[in-house]
Point group: C2
Chain length 406, copies 2
């Protein structure tokens, strides 16, 4: 399958869409033509030839000469409609919509096989870092122990400010003013965005599809000055760190939570909007990849790289997924955490496997110890409502041996 005569239909002309347009027009290597751009809001002014723009998705989906659909809109449901229809019509698709992907991975793989088309989505995870391609092709034959990192530029930007002694709310406000955070930042700061990315990377790293709703995502919205002071005193930075990790012989876990990292950790110096990914292979050891996690041109160039790969007939083969290894998702695993609570909060229903440290003042307290991940999933809403801050303190995971009643 080599796609010649590459005619592109583009959905969405936001930050990434504009980046792609710029990169495609200013690149000397690869050429492809955008035939039509479908956008939503007719009232927005766009620096584009009028005949390129339309407001009806049929103008792309019904055109037989358009062989590649690039989907860069926000709405995940609408994106799935567009992408799946495009694939059923025999069009190849490039998308950056992590939520849509995370929620529909099995259907999308099936569509790819049934309609013999290619679906690529490098720009959906970690901006310009070629992590999906690297997992899919380079580590396709190696058993991985762990994939972790910083997958979200917005929270990392906010945390870089917090680590520089701003309060969370000031840091968030600054990030919003500078365009690094959206006006409704929930998706990022509560850790949904990195969770969707983790679901996608789990497929390529371990060959398994996990439902987003089964995975814990704790964000940084409950971060208080006590927490950043604690981190600073210990020489830590706080990072929002998704972890995908093999546990024991045939289980693996995935969670998104803040993490104290020290200078010995590769991620310590990954600041601002940068993303970083650590891949630990059984034989290759630790690989580290860093790059811009966001931004119009870096993400646009990731999309272009997919389009270029399409033109060479590239598609993901999902080797580990198709091998159907005996590997099961679990949340029954012990993690080592710092849990800070305000003094009026009852935390007695958190059942600890082991408590290492306890601290309490007239205003707040914290407990350090190991707890079952499922406890955190179970109490997530309580954690958010009571402004409890939970932060991982180590990479140690262990299979739970004691029975804990929740």
């Amino acid at each position: 399958m080599v796609v010649s005569n590459l005619k592109i239909g583009l959905f969405g002309f936001g930050c990434v869409g504009r980046g792609l347009y710029h990169v495609l027009n200013n690149n000397t290597g690869f050429k492809a033509s955008i035939e039509s751009i479908v956008v939503k809001d007719p009232s927005k002014s766009r620096n584009l030839a009028q005949e390129l723009i339309s407001y009806d998705r049929r103008n792309i989906l019904d055109r037989d000469d358009i062989t590649v659909v690039v989907e860069l809109i926000d709405d995940a449901d609408e994106a799935f409609e567009i992408v799946s229809e495009a694939m059923r019509k025999g069009k190849h698709v490039v998308t950056a919509n992590k939520k849509m992907l995370a929620e529909h991975l099995s259907e999308l793989i099936e569509l790819q096989q049934s309609y013999n088309v290619s679906l690529l989505y490098e720009a959906a995870a970690c901006g310009s870092i070629p992590i999906i391609r690297t997992l899919e092709e380079y580590f396709d034959n190696e058993d991985l122990k762990r994939v972790s990192g910083i997958f979200n530029g917005t929270t990392n930007y906010v945390l870089s400010r917090v680590n520089g002694n701003y309060s969370y709310s000031n840091a968030l406000q600054q990030a919003q003013e500078l365009g690094f955070a959206e006006s409704d930042p929930t998706n990022d700061v509560e850790g949904f965005d990195p969770k969707f990315k983790a679901v996608i990377l789990t497929l390529h790293a371990f060959g398994k599809i996990v439902r987003p709703e089964d995975i814990l995502n704790l964000g940084i919205t409950t971060l208080q000055e006590e927490d950043s002071r604690y981190a600073a005193e210990k020489g830590y930075k706080i990072k929002l760190m998704p972890v995908i990790e093999r546990v024991g012989h045939n289980r693996f876990t995935v969670f998104i939570a803040p993490r104290f990292v020290d200078t010995g950790n590769q991620l310590y110096n990954v600041d601002h909007e940068y993303n970083g990914v650590i891949v630990e292979g059984l034989f290759s050891g630790e690989q580290f990849l860093q790059g811009r996690g966001a931004g119009s041109l870096p993400t646009g160039s990731a999309v272009l790289s997919d389009i270029s790969a399409l033109s060479c007939g590239y598609r993901y083969v999902f080797k580990k997924y198709l091998q159907c290894k005996d590997l099961e998702y679990t949340d029954d695993v012990l993690v080592e955490i710092y849990l800070r609570y305000n003094i009026d909060t009852d935390i007695s229903h958190f059942q600890w496997n082991k408590v290492e440290e306890k601290y309490q003042s007239s205003r707040y307290g914290y407990t350090i110890g190991s707890i079952n991940l499922s406890q955190l999933i179970h109490h997530r809403q309580y954690i958010l409502e009571h402004k409890i801050f939970v932060c991982m303190i180590s990479d140690n995971l262990s299979q739970n041996t004691n029975q804990i009643n929740i």
Copy 2:
């Protein structure tokens, strides 16, 4: 081209060969069988079934059922004979021999095209970092500004010791005792090994083949305590840093030389046997990749990754090379350097473009300023013989505007 029934003939059973053997036998994902191993020295004892071993290359090259040759021997000339014969016989080849590759790139590309076989060599550059694959596939359509990094684990190990206040000769001795440096370390410490790797990466990053003999390689053999003290006082570490960089509109340069790096540089924390590569794209910005640059299993796993890719029909397409862009190698470029000399050395024939600092004591002196790269190439032998230490002090390169007589 999908290679089914993957039967491998392996040349060499040293560090990487043993690593491959281990990884192949302990990996759950990908299976291929090593049918025959040709080695040189019958007197060495090897932990292998006797029937696997032979001492005659014909036992692999003449067997039609062996479809893949993995070449992991030291000798570059012999390696080229083996690899080119294997390709002419329609066998696919995986090699880690950077010297052989750097010296024969055009012939090998031609053999690949003429005989419709694939030649892969990820393990030839930067161990387990998938840098060739990343350049070849992910950045194939993007104009790059610069590729730099730490490409040699041995010198980086030695320099990590030097930066920790050992003298160069003590550090080298330690590295040799621990097996990180060979008994004749010339290839590494004089910068030939990273130069061969730079030649290979230049092909994939810029699409151009440069002859190794046209490229400056200054190593670390002339490093004295004055130099490491200078670095420590300024908060620098010394790294051996190959640079491949676009200069002006249609020229590029390549050189291998020590470099003072500060904490702001990604490479500052790449210590010991680790390698790191920084790829700067026109649109994607700065990407950083780090991993083990040496070692039996990491390099073995890189070889296996190539074998696995072969089985899926993968081959390098050398897109930038075949595009034949108007881009020319030059050594006519100004670099900013620190040049330390011993007091009895005449350095008056080094012609500086600009001198920023001069220091002299009763034992040694140094000059900091900008000089034409071609001057350093011209005086390389003199630099080595007189134990002059040359170290780059910045990333700034500029096209030379003044005429300098050499």
